[in-house]
Structure formats: C-alpha cells, structure tokens
Symmetry: C2
Subunit: 420 residues, 2 copies
C-alpha cells in the first residue's frame, strides 16, 4: 500500500479519488448480491469476510488492530497520550441490496485519513482510531446502532436476545457463529474516547442541488413516527350514495393532503412523510372501510415537532368528524434532536474555509451512529453529496471528487483534534 499515499503538502493525494473508489469497490466484492448492489447483514458471511479484509488492510498500514466483544473492528494509531482517543469511522453493515457508499465510505475515509496523517505528521498527540462499526441499519435484526451502542455502553442484551432474523436465526446464535459474544453490561465503557467524527454520504439531495462537496453537520434531527388508522365502513361502490358513505380512503386522502400542506407551511427544516398507505379491502369496486397510513416527522427543534404533532392531531380529529369516520393515532417512535458539538463544528467549518473547500453547514435528516456517541462525547459529522439523494439502493453514487473532498475535510479535522 505504500504507493497509495503520496502527500503533496496541501492535503493532496495523488489519485485520491480513484483510490477511494477502488477501496469501496474492493470492500463491495465481499458482499456482492446477485440481486443487485451489496448486502452485508450483521454477522453474515459477507460481514465477516469484509471485517477480516479490513483488518488485514489496517494491519498492513501499521495500525494496531482489534475487534471488541461484539465485533466492532478498530485500527489505532497510537498518540503520545495513550489515555485520549479521537475516534472516526462508520458502520460496515448495509441494507439488503444497498450501495457502495452508505457506511463503508466513512470507514475507508477514516483509514485513508489516518494513513495520510501518520505519513505526513507522524505520531499524534492523542490516539487516532478508526472503527468499522458492527451494525447500524437494523436490516438483519429489528435493532439499530448495535455497534455504536456497545461502544458507549447503551446496548442492552435483553433488547436483542429474543430477536430472530427473517430466517428464524436467533441474534445470539448469529453472533456466536461469527465468533463474538455479548459485552459484559456491568463493565464500564471505554474512558479513553474523547471525540467522535463520522463521515457519511448525505443520503439526500441538498448538497448536490446546492453544488457543494462537503456538508458540516450541526445537528441530527429528532424524529417522531406515527401510524394513523382510519375506520369507516366498507360498502358497495355502486349502490352506496356518496352521502351514505363512511369512506376511509376519502377521509385518509383528505388528512394526508392537509397534513403535508401544513408541513410545507411550517417550512424548512421540517419534513413530513406519509410513506406507507394501506387500504382495506383495496378492491376497485368497494368503498374502503379502513385506511392505515404512517407519518414520519423530523425537525432539529423538539418544540416544533411537538407543536406540529398537536396541530396535525387537531386536523385529523376535524377531518374524522367531517367524514364520519374514526381515527386513532399511535406514536411508535420518538427521538430527540441531537446537536453536534459546537466547538468541533466550528473547527471543521474554519478548516473548510481555510482550505477553500466547497461546504455547507447543515443538519442531518437521517439517523447516524454519531447520534449515539453525541450524548457521551463531543461528536461531529461530515457529509459528502449523494447523487439525486439516492440511498439504500444499488444506484447510490457520489462523485469521486466529492469523495476526495470529504476525506480532505476529515484529514484537516482530525489533524486539528489529534495533533494540536
């Protein structure tokens, strides 16, 4: 790998963009899915093969490499002060038929950044560590952030031990087959971790639309998710006059239309999505007796989320009365917004300005491992653009030059945090 890294004094690698792409493709070879893209589910063969390959690469680069109990893989460049670690990295798992960028780009970026810093500046003041987090997506088992939650000590064994995957394989069995075990919950989490910086693809289209290469994340949105169930009365489409109907689809479409209009009136950064609609009996010539739909609501300010919840609840009540249907609202997800550490955000922004990078300070509308670290240690995040915002899809794509800009921004950030 010696020829991979060539420093030209101004944070320039020779062919950096191409090298990142090659590494992403190389990691992809361990998890190619015949159905398209890559599938690397927690503790699967693809997952194990990829972690082992990463381990070899990191060892070749001279990092001190180790797995923790649950399968998070770390590569450390020791600093003068062994007790303080600046951590970077992202998750290695993917969704089913995912792309080459979500998750693994943050790991490749971290490794390349540390290699560069080592070559350029030698030993840092603080340890520099890159982590390939075991799991974030919740795609094999219905549990997210298994990797990061184990590092900060917030993973709970009893929350996962009864989970099974879609083939009926229990969580613990999958884990032990991959060679890992539950972390002893009484054991204190690592005390050396002082900072976490994650690099990730945006999974949205803001950077691309605004023609920026790097996003400096100042906050991760809070989310609420609801299921709204509208119960009317199924009836014959021909023989039931409009005024005798209790049409659940009519009522639901009215609600959805008004709720999303309201969301647009609230303005950015509020986003509201009705992603799922299920009508019953869902037959062309039957007036629907039931409509169930979801609402996904996100904002960086909890107060706005609460206020919007009250407003749309009122709307649903009014519209239910108008259509003579019943409606219930079930809230099944409620996470608070997570601000990134303002000092690190400032450091990153200053660095981007200094280096004349094309950047935008923004929020993250998606959840990331950074939100698990943030309540415990100062945390920050960098984005690179996602072409058309496509994500969780084999067509996921980021321009190689933008991938390179992201790594450069990370290098500068880690230098500020670990060498100064």
């Amino acid at each position: 790998m010696e020829d991979l890294i060539k420093c030209h004094g101004k944070l320039e690698f020779e062919n950096l963009a191409i090298r990142i792409v090659k590494r992403l493709e190389w990691l992809g070879t361990f998890a190619k899915d015949p159905g398209g893209g890559i599938t690397r589910l927690l503790y699967s063969k693809q997952w194990t093969d990829t972690q082992r390959a990463l381990k070899s690469w990191m060892e070749t680069e001279g990092l001190k490499v180790q797995f923790d109990e649950v399968g998070n893989l770390s590569g450390v460049l020791k600093g003068q002060n062994h007790g303080e670690t600046v951590l970077t990295g992202s998750h290695i798992d993917t969704v089913k038929n995912g792309g080459l960028y979500d998750g693994q780009y943050g790991i490749v970026a971290g490794i390349l950044a540390i290699i560069f810093l080592k070559e350029q500046y030698g030993m840092p003041k603080r340890n520099l560590e890159v982590v390939s987090l075991a799991e974030e997506e919740g795609s094999r088992f219905p549990y997210c952030f298994w990797g990061s939650k184990n590092i900060v000590g917030s993973a709970i064994k009893k929350d996962v031990e009864n989970l099974v995957d879609s083939n009926g394989v229990p969580f613990a069995k999958a884990m032990s087959k991959a060679g890992f075990a539950f972390r002893e919950e009484k054991k204190a989490p690592r005390q050396d971790l002082k900072i976490f910086v994650e690099v990730h693809v945006e999974q949205g289209n803001v950077l691309e639309n605004e023609n920026k290469s790097v996003g400096v994340v100042k906050s991760i949105v809070g989310q609420r998710r609801f299921t709204i169930e509208v119960t009317g009365e199924a009836n014959h489409a021909g023989t039931t006059p409009m005024n005798y109907r209790k049409d659940a689809a009519f009522a639901a479409s009215h609600m959805i239309h008004e709720m999303l209009n309201l969301a647009k009136q609230y303005g950015e950064p509020l986003v509201a999505t009705v992603g799922r609609i299920d009508i019953s009996p869902n037959i062309a010539n039957v007036v629907p007796g039931k409509a169930v739909f979801t609402l996904d609501l996100r904002h960086i300010d909890k107060h706005v989320i609460v206020h919007f919840t009250e407003a749309f609840t009122e709307k649903i009540k009014d519209i239910s009365r108008e259509h003579e249907v019943d409606a219930t609202i079930e809230k099944w997800l409620d996470t608070d917004p997570v601000p990134m550490d303002p000092k690190i955000v400032e450091i990153i922004e200053n660095h981007c300005m200094e280096k004349n990078l094309s950047y935008k300070v923004m929020h993250s509308g998606a959840g990331h491992d950074a939100q698990i670290f943030a309540p415990f240690i100062p945390t920050a995040m960098l984005f690179v653009p996602s072409h058309k915002g496509i994500s969780h899809n084999p067509d996921e794509y980021t321009e190689p030059d933008d991938l390179a800009e992201g790594v450069k921004a990370l290098i500068g950030t880690l230098y500020e945090l670990a060498y100064k």
Copy 2:
C-alpha cells in the same frame, strides 16, 4: 310442497317469509364454505349439486324443467300461447364466501311466485319461466354474465376458452366436467322470450335508510373504471427537504381528495369510489415514488359520466403540475347506462301502489343480469333491502318480511305480464 302455498286472496301466503328463508338456507346447504358463508363457483361441485336440487324442487312443483347447453336451468309453466315467454329468475353462482341472498333469492322468488300464480290462477296466457342462471359474478373465471349472455346469444366462446381459474383449470374443462358444452354460436337465440323480470337484493343501503321494502329499478347505471398512476421520485424521508420532493403519495392524496369532493358537488346519483390505492415502495421512512389508484365512476346518464371524466382529468393534470409528478389515466371499463323498460316499470309501480307496498323507484348502482337482457327484450328489476348495504359477504341479510314483500311484488308483476 302442497302445504307451502296457501292463498288468502290478497297475495298472502301463510308463513311466506319463513318459507323463503327456509328455501334460501336449504340452497345454502349445498355450498356451505368452511371459511364462512357460501361459495358456489360456476361448474363446481357445489354449483352442480345446487342446480340438481333446484331441478328436483321445480319438477316436484310441476314445472317443465330443462338445462340449456351451458347450464342455465329453467322451469316452465306453460301458457296458452306457447310462443311467448315471460322470464324471471337470477344467478345461482356466488362470490367466494358470499351470502344467502345475492342471486339465489331471485330464483327462489321466481319459483314461489310461479307456484303461487299457478295455484291461484291456473294456466297463464304466456309461458311463465323461472331461470337459475349459470353465472353472473365472474368469481371463478374472469368473465361475468356467462349465463344471461348465452341466453341472449351475446356470449362469445373465444372470450372464455383461454380462461383458467385460480387452480389453473381451463374454462372448457370445468364446463364439460359439469356436463355442459359451448352453445353453437351460429344458432339463433330463443325467440319466445318476450320479457325478463329479475328480483335481487339491493346490495346498497338506500331502501333500508328510507325504510322501504321494495325497490322498482328504472335504470342500471353506466360505469367507467380508471387506473391512475402517479410517478414521482422515491427519496429518503429525512434527508429530502419538502421543496425538493416529487412525492407521489402527496400528489395522489391531493387528487383523490379533490376528485371525490368534485363527485359530491355533482350530487346524486353520481358515485365515485377510489377503492384501491397502492403506494411504492410503501415504507414509512421513504418518500413514495409511485402511487397507483383506481376510480370507479357510475351514473345513470352517460353525459354526466363523460363530463365528470373530463373534469377530473383536468384536475389530475393541474395537480400533477403542482407536485411535479407525472400521471397517466387508463380507462379499463366503460359500460353504458341501461334503462329498464318504462312500460313494465309503470306496471310494477302501479301494482305496488295498488297493493299498498312500501316501495321506491330507484336506479341500480350495481350490474345485474337484467342489463344483459335489456338490449334484447323489455326488462325490469325489483330490489329488496340489504341490511347495512352489506353484500358479497356471509353477513348479507334481508329482513324476512322484506323478502316476502319482494315476492309479492313479483307475483303481481308476473300476473300483469303473463295473465292479462
């Protein structure tokens, strides 16, 4: 059966209501579905058993009984004029898990009416015939009105010969196994049929809501059915700002809401139903890229159907532009309204008035065999109430007294048509 029919001079049977119910239940025993209600699909064992049972009953009552080529079962009370037949009856097939009333009530009503008239008035001027039509629902094979279309000569062999049922059984094989064969298409249809009168449950809630026992149908609605496909762009629910979205579900709910509001503005008897909505990918945290929904549109006046079609098409275009999505509209059903014969409608109405029956002149929002006969011979229809409008369901129910009122109205009508 002698004791079944007792005339008391004013079209009164002793225990008529109970006797109708017992006959419906008896027919139901040949097609009981362990999953609920009755299932009597064309040419199935249940179908054959029921037709045979009906044949025995009609023979016992002294009617001249015969099957035609395709399995329509007729019972004839010969009149003085052998060349003219007044036909009544309905279909014997049911949907899967149907109820005891849809179809078979019209056959039971016809048999009991003819028995009564024979006992009361002897030989009619014209033949009186009750038919148990082979098929109307299209529940086994995707083809409706197989029974009545064969009688009027509009059934086309090539339209059904390639059809298979859900078990892969071809139409012709099912038919020959039941002992029937295609009708020779070149053969002219029966020339003796002069009038058809069908009695059926309303399958709607108008009669019940207006507290009437009998509906006198003056027209069967015309129908159009459309599939509207809205194509936007699937995106991440968190990372795609509202203004960057092409949300197919938002656009579709806007369209549905406006279209159905428009339908209400048009007023009765227009009915518009969005019975089916399918969202893609239909995941809570993904902005939907596609929404497909149906529109079922009915009215007794073709001009109104055409006008509404133009109006909603314009709305869909406008809303598509507003949401920056594409929309296509496919029309896949288009049947004209079918008026019933005004003279027979008048005869029925006069009879109902005379006999002080609780009736309402109305249209049929559902399709019936009567619409197949109407273009060929003067045709009329009578309805009895459906409790809560429930139909195609084991819970289908009509008050026994209303069942009796329907038979009385039919008796009076057949008397006017066959004896005068």
